[in-house]
Symmetry: C2
Subunit: 123 residues, 2 copies
Amino acid sequence: MKVRKFAISDASLERSPGQDGDIVVGNMVDQRHGGPITIGFGRYAQSQSLEETLVVDDVMVVLDGRLSVTNDGRTVTAGPGEIVYMPKGETVTIRSHEQGAVTAYVTYPHWQEAHEARTRGNR
Amino acid sequence: MKVRKFAISDASLERSPGQDGDIVVGNMVDQRHGGPITIGFGRYAQSQSLEETLVVDDVMVVLDGRLSVTNDGRTVTAGPGEIVYMPKGETVTIRSHEQGAVTAYVTYPHWQEAHEARTRGNR
């Protein structure tokens, strides 16, 4: 695979599995491309909330708006140009505010594969 | 390690090894923290250029300004909110323009360790 550039306008944004909020994500690079990491964009409508136990290391870069992430009783809030690192194994609640939010994300390893493995394990 | 938030104002930006341009980087998370990925911020002054063969998978998110990346005779240009994915093994030339650029980056595995291993191998 060669160097590639991505804009959010290139993304097919869809609701992520296991959540029913108005939060959509689109992978630009993932397990289909043969590399070790997943890269994508996310968009949160206003005042959404998502709780998740991370099955991968997940880095979010806030591109627009603002997100708060609560983990273990502590909350961090990130705005444009700021990074939130969510290590594998942590349980987080991600909340958007009045203006919603747009993010870029990178996960190691691929979050979709890890999700599917967890779902199979729960059956 | 718990969830953490980073702003570029938290970074200690230093010239990266092996380049003499006005390009500075600062890791916020790396091999010292026990996880699999390095996370950091970069700042390019105007009209800088850096050629590199990537020893890791490297994702840059442009936060401000504009960068062009040339790889294998093809150039992509990214502005604020856009992502450039540079796979391990590729040789790239990264160029900033009149306004310079600020980036967030994520690498897998840790770029500093991979650099040091390459440097030792070259001796």
